[in-house]
């Protein structure tokens, strides 16, 4: 699982070839509570590193989802739009948000590995 990296905005990113799959972490879902709405970027659109690429809403509030790398959106997960509770159930696997054709693999370098992220999440438990 060493190919999965994490952002400070609590997204995970898994790179396979030049396609990156992106979702939000289990820690993020625990902070958000029950997710009841998800909005994803449009297929074919281009997103920029650290830019907004979606929205999740809990019963309490809306939160932006950011993309940790730049690229073209090649696929989105309609299942989580139809049933957002799937994000709480399996956030780091089947409830991925979108796939990007990554523009610059070096953008992955600044992201955290699992141990660093777990430590970061523990320290930023708000």
């Amino acid at each position: 699982m060493s190919d999965v990296k994490y952002s400070k905005e609590h997204e995970w990113i898994k790179l396979e070839g030049d396609v990156a799959t992106i979702g939000i972490t289990k820690h993020a879902t625990e902070m958000l509570g029950d997710i009841v709405f998800a909005e994803l970027p449009e297929k074919g659109s281009n997103v920029e590193k650290d830019g907004t690429a979606g929205v999740v809403e809990s019963t309490k509030a809306a939160s932006d989802v950011y993309t940790p790398v730049s690229g073209e959106v090649v696929d989105t997960n309609q299942e989580i739009v139809d049933d957002p509770s799937k994000i709480n159930q399996d956030p780091e696997n089947s409830a991925w948000f979108f796939k990007l054709k990554i523009k610059d693999k070096s953008e992955m370098d600044s992201l955290m590995n699992k141990d660093d992220y777990d430590k970061f999440a523990k320290e930023n438990n708000t």
């Binding site: 509570g33 029950d34 009841v36 709405f37 809990s58 019963t59 309490k60």
Partner: protein, 367 residues
């Protein structure tokens, strides 16, 4: 100012509550199971809410007090039976709502349940309006525990015998552990339920017994989704000083008898609005699809003209979709009128609908 804690604070902590500051109190927004589960458990079984932050104002007096309170509240208090409750509001002279409340006639006078954020100001206003003629106690020594949902009657009756015989919007004194508790059959969830005024030192014991009998704690998050599905207003959001009871579509709560006399604070405006109509009015709003329109979301008509604003909006777990209420210009307030809600720069279709979103199951009369 340091935030206050209710008598159940330790119990909330033991039950892994997430806390938020609300009206100067550390209150549980949810417990480990989360808002949706707590909401559904309340609808299907029984949920316990710590609402001890709310004001419990006892005003002691007899016939003269009734006359004086009728100058303030648009209610027929003279004909209200002992131990019966009414929903009402404290208005200013322009009929702006300063608080909404439940007032119960008790043997000793009246018990008024006030919103936490308003209670100190309400106390000051009422004291002045009543010219300090009566003994008034905003009781900090009592907690307020609500138990709501279809199984609540059975559960509470197991602990305090006789409560199941109370009618909706009525109450009485009962004994719990030799302590006098005042229980009303009422609530804020659209479900059958009770609110229990109990001395602070016994609140945790009672709550633990209710949990042992099968009820579960539910936080302010679930309370909000439940009340919104039930079409009930939240002060500071759906109601405030810039809105009158007529605009808030709460004219059912104003006594017809009192309107004909018109001798309460704000009555001039209320009577004028009842005769001439209002320019804006509170409505239910059902977004199409899953989009959630929250407070302050702008509402537009089909010609893209701004016609109002959302005052409460969330996802309704029992409705299994988004629900909202807000104020629109009167001509767009008819059921099934198509409107558009601006969320994150995009406009989404929605329909004006009747309230509640979720049908209530209050017990009207058991006797």
């Amino acid at each position: 100012m340091e935030t206050k804690k209710t008598s159940l604070y330790q119990l909330h902590q033991d039950c892994n509550a997430k806390f938020v500051e609300f009206a100067g109190y550390q209150m549980p927004i949810q417990y480990s199971e989360g808002i949706v589960e707590e909401h559904k458990f309340t609808r299907n079984h029984s949920g316990i809410f710590d609402v001890s932050h709310m004001g419990q104002l006892f005003i002691y007096g007899g016939d003269e007090l009734i006359k004086d309170l009728e100058k303030i509240f648009p209610l027929d208090l003279n004909n209200l039976k002992i131990n019966h409750s009414k929903y009402s509001f404290l208005m200013d002279k322009d009929a702006g709502i300063q608080d909404d409340l439940i007032i119960t006639k008790i043997n000793e006078g009246f018990l008024i349940i006030l919103n936490a954020a308003c209670k100190d100001n309400d106390f000051k206003i009422l004291k002045e309006l009543l010219n300090e003629k009566y003994k008034m106690v905003l009781d900090e020594n009592r907690s307020l525990i609500a138990i709501q949902g279809p199984k609540s009657s059975e559960i509470l009756n197991d602990v305090i015998d006789g409560v199941k015989d109370l009618n909706f919007m009525s109450g009485n004194w009962f004994l719990f552990d030799n302590q006098k508790v005042y229980i009303t059959r009422s609530g804020y969830t659209g479900e059958d339920g009770f609110e229990i005024s109990i001395p602070n030192n016994f609140a945790e014991k009672l709550t633990r017994e209710l949990i042992n009998k099968g009820s579960k704690l539910a936080g302010l998050g679930a309370r909000d989704t439940l009340r919104l599905e039930a079409g009930l207003c939240l002060y500071g959001h759906d109601l405030d000083k810039d809105k009158t009871p007529v605009e808030a579509n709460l004219k059912w709560a104003i006594s017809k008898e009192r309107i004909s006399k018109g001798d309460f604070i704000g009555s001039d405006i209320i009577i004028k609005q009842l005769n001439d109509g209002v320019s804006k009015i509170r409505v239910g709003i059902k977004p199409e699809g899953r989009i959630i329109a929250r407070e302050k979301t702008k509402i537009f008509n089909q010609s893209d003209v701004h016609i109002g604003e959302i005052t409460s909006g969330t996802f309704g777990p029992s409705v299994n979709g988004p629900v909202a209420m807000g104020y629109v210009e009167n001509e767009f307030s008819k059921k099934n009128t198509k409107v558009f809600l601006e969320v994150r720069g995009k406009k989404y279709a929605a329909n004006i609908c009747s309230l509640p979103f979720y049908k209530k199951s209050y017990v009207k009369g058991v006797n």
